[in-house]
């Protein structure tokens, strides 16, 4: 079907996206083949907070990983930190090392799969058949047939064995408990994990970047990067082919979204971590980057609020912090409310979170320079994701080294049983693969009285807030040219570069009992 006159006028198209996690739909207003408005729709509601209500607090260790199949470890970590905060529990360094190790392994798996199972598949679309790089791209990225697709399935699967070694299985285990982890480090376990990271990092060096980790991480400017990526091996690596193709279809000029960024920091420092510490205690720094001023300020979780004006929940004015927010599902499909996702805001600003935010806020020189030269964009986010894997290998090795030198140290400080029913309020903030993840818990009379989760995709996929300001993804689509609304491949590139996960995002509601439904 060629371009007809009707595409020259305005229309509203509803599209769904696969190869993201969960259920994501967009409603787009398209005028003369350009997107003029976008509404990001979370279409599934499950109600985890109600399920957790009145349960024993440690049940959150079993229930919350079920919020998401691909980042269950991040949820588990966030949940345990929230309880340790509420109960003021110390945790021994080895427990933090093991927790970090498992989160890192899950993250590497996630970043590799997002890139080569979800994102690059779109380059093989028929739309690009005439492109000079098409054959190269298909041989590299085609589903099941392409080399990188097949290898990613194999090596990402291998990475997860680290979680199984210390946690029993992946996905869905509950090996982090208040006070530590259940599995002690032994030399055998550490050696097995080292073997895995050796195997996967070697493959990553050979195939994904075409150079050593050290050389790649040493790149500290846009110029250095663009010189490097033209060398023979990097050019034909996964990152190289992705970069050449993505930039040839202008993905480095698309998908800006909001300039502000949020990072909760990554990997609690095993030596210094204490719940509720006033200053940042992470190996990878936390913070808020103001995209207008360029200033990075310290993270303050009190600045987090959620709005519901355009969401299917009973309304309240403005935004509320998770501990204050009350939400009652109120499905109103025929109004201007359009999603089960709420609208989180930081200091009333729309933020993006994810690998670009994480690396930038931690001070990665390359990301800083690329951002300065070209602004935020879909290609840069993808590049950040691949780069983050390189950093993570280093963090994994460091964690394993430290474990190896501290094998006889405790892995858990078991609290006395009376702790498990103590009242308290706590939060756990973790960097999941997609960005900032937070759990807020309140315990009263020995049971969970309130539980709120804000996921990274909740931040990124946010609908409009009370001020009518659109969320990050919505913003990133406006102005995008769409060649054929029947096959909007361009949208796929931009959205998948955000690594969306909708299973997480629309699961939580408040303590209300009444549900209003107006068909």
């Amino acid at each position: 079907m060629g371009k007809e006159n009707k595409f020259m006028t305005s229309q509203t198209v509803r599209i769904d996206l696969n190869r993201v996690e969960g259920d994501l739909e967009f409603e787009l207003d398209i005028e003369n083949n350009v997107i003029t408005d976008a509404r990001c729709i979370g279409t599934l509601y499950r109600g985890f907070e109600q399920i957790l209500l009145n349960r024993a607090p440690r049940d959150a260790m079993v229930i919350t990983p079920r919020v998401c199949g691909i980042c269950g470890t991040a949820h588990l970590y966030s949940a345990v930190l929230a309880l340790e905060h509420a109960w003021q529990l110390p945790v021994p360094p080895n427990a933090t090392r093991i927790r970090n190790l498992c989160l890192m392994a899950e993250g590497v798996q996630n970043d590799l799969r997002q890139t080569f199972l979800f994102f690059t598949v779109d380059f093989c679309d028929d739309l690009y058949q005439k492109h000079e790089l098409y054959d190269e791209v298909v041989s590299a990225f085609a589903p099941f047939e392409g080399a990188f697709h097949r290898e990613t399935l194999e090596f990402s699967k291998k990475m997860l064995e680290i979680v199984a070694i210390f946690g029993g299985q992946w996905p869905h285990s509950s090996y982090m408990l208040p006070g530590g982890v259940v599995t002690e480090p032994t030399s055998q376990r550490v050696i097995d994990c080292l073997d895995i990271v050796n195997t996967v990092s070697q493959w990553y060096e050979q195939r994904i970047i075409g150079d050593t980790l050290d050389n790649f991480l040493a790149l500290d400017s846009a110029e250095a990067f663009f010189t490097w990526v033209e060398k023979e091996k990097p050019a034909h690596s996964g990152l190289g082919i992705l970069t050449r193709f993505a930039r040839s279809i202008s993905l480095h000029q698309r998908g800006v979204g909001t300039p502000h960024m949020l990072s909760f920091g990554a990997y609690c420092d095993p030596e210094t971590w204490v719940a509720g510490a006033q200053s940042d205690q992470h190996w990878v720094k936390s913070g808020f980057y103001n995209g207008e001023t360029g200033i990075i300020s310290a993270l303050n979780q009190n600045e987090i609020t959620e709005h519901v004006r355009y969401s299917w929940f009973q309304d309240y004015e403005g935004g509320k912090h998770p501990w204050q927010g009350e939400t009652v599902p109120d499905y109103q499909p025929q109004t201007d409310r359009y999603t089960w996702a709420k609208a989180p805001r930081y200091a009333d600003k729309v933020v993006q979170t994810g690998p670009l935010a994480e690396l930038l806020i931690d001070g990665d020189a390359l990301m800083n320079d690329l951002l300065k030269q070209e602004g935020g964009n879909a290609w840069l986010r993808q590049c950040a994701r691949i780069r983050r894997v390189a950093y993570t290998f280093a963090h994994i090795r460091r964690s394993l080294e430290e474990l190896l030198h501290n094998l006889n140290e405790p892995h858990i400080i078991a609290p006395s049983p009376s702790v498990y029913t103590q009242d308290g309020e706590g939060y756990g903030l973790v960097t999941a693969a997609r960005g900032a993840l937070g759990h807020w818990v309140r315990i009263r009379d020995g049971v969970i009285d309130k539980y709120q989760i804000i996921t990274p995709t909740a931040w990124n996929a946010s609908p409009k807030d009370s001020q009518g300001v659109r969320g990050h993804w919505e913003q990133s689509l406006i102005g995008l040219a769409v060649d054929d609304p029947e096959n909007p491949v361009e949208i796929g590139h931009v959205i998948r570069s955000h690594d969306p996960c909708l299973v997480c995002t629309v699961h939580f509601v408040g303590t209300g009992k009444k549900i209003t439904y107006r068909p």
């Binding site: 049940d59 229930i63 699967k157 996905p171 530590g180």
Partner: protein
């Protein structure tokens, strides 16, 4: 002629999809490659264009595309008021889409406890009124009635687990691809993969045998008596075919939560064993209480020092 497979997600976390990507005996890739299967659609793997799932669905419902194997991942969301509008696809409730699809399928497989029995989303108070395909927790009749049968004359095949074991899923697909006869247990789980309990193969076995029962998590001993482990009463292959080729929850020190059971997750504190006096309420399948108590006290007396002193590392 290739057999077609459609993997449809309803109220799901995606855990069974993630698990099947971890399968290694055989791998999901290998099943597609070697058993003549045409994967019509999978939410995370499909190659077809955005917005084309509806063409696949339309083709199936118009009998233009045959549907050999329908895999459903996720609880069936029925709220609000039985309409299913808390879980939609392009404005249609997934409940209604599934209702129509099952009538076209030769085999219908519930991949995971959510699709089989309702699962975690159906835990009290079941906020989105979730049910399983043919069961509502322990009760027969879910979205489909107890008597419903697919085109090949089978009820919904319940590959239970949260998530389902990766290799159980892939092996089952191979069996269906070859039209191998299936024996199903009383919960319609394929017996081949549910005829052993999690307890068999646990490396804490000597602790269990000699009644060395831990009182706190993080130790080396048995977790059955005090810490909520449901291994002795839960059918699954977790300690026979290790997860991710490496281990299992109980080996690592995480109690089995009974996730292949229709009542998962139990309403009660998951890390604590319900007891009558000093003895667990739920004994290993088929064991008589008075004989069990006698055996346990003899066992404890027979325990060697190396086990009593936790010298054996699981």
């Amino acid at each position: 002629m290739k057999k077609t497979v459609l993997w449809f997600q309803t109220g799901a976390c995606g855990g069974d999809t993630m698990a099947i990507l971890c399968a290694d005996k055989p791998s999901f890739q290998s099943v597609i490659d070697n058993y003549n299967l045409d994967l019509l659609w999978h939410p995370s793997l499909s190659t077809i264009k955005m917005g084309r799932l509806d063409q696949v669905l339309e083709g199936i419902l118009n009998d233009e595309i045959p549907l050999d194997i329908l895999c459903v991942e996720g609880s069936i969301v029925t709220a609000p008021s039985g309409t299913g509008f808390f879980d939609t696809y392009k404005g249609q409730s997934k409940l209604h889409i599934v209702e129509k699809l099952v009538e076209k399928a030769n085999y219908v497989v519930a991949m995971g406890t959510c699709a089989a029995f309702g699962g975690v989303h159906a835990a009290y108070p079941n906020p989105s009124d979730c049910i399983g395909l043919q069961f509502e927790k322990t009760e027969p009749n879910g979205l489909l009635e107890e008597e419903w049968r697919s085109r090949k004359g089978l009820p919904v095949i319940n590959v239970a687990g949260c998530p389902a074991h990766p290799n159980t899923m892939t092996r089952l697909l191979v069996m269906l691809a070859q039209d191998i006869d299936l024996s199903l247990d009383y919960l319609n789980r394929p017996e081949e993969f549910f005829n052993t309990v999690v307890h068999q193969g646990c490396t804490r076995n000597e602790y269990h045998e000699y009644d060395i029962e831990d009182k706190e998590l993080g130790g080396l001993g048995c977790m059955f008596f005090n810490l909520g482990c449901q291994g002795p009463i839960t059918p699954a292959i977790c300690n026979k075919d290790l997860w991710n080729g490496r281990s299992s929850k109980t080996r690592a020190g995480v109690p089995c939560f009974g996730c292949t059971s229709p009542s998962f997750p139990k309403d009660q504190d998951l890390f604590s064993t319900e007891k009558i006096g000093d003895i667990p309420l739920n004994l290993p399948l088929g064991v008589e209480r008075h004989k069990y108590m006698a055996y346990k006290s003899l066992a404890r007396e027979a325990a060697p020092q190396r086990v009593k002193k936790y010298k054996m590392k699981p």
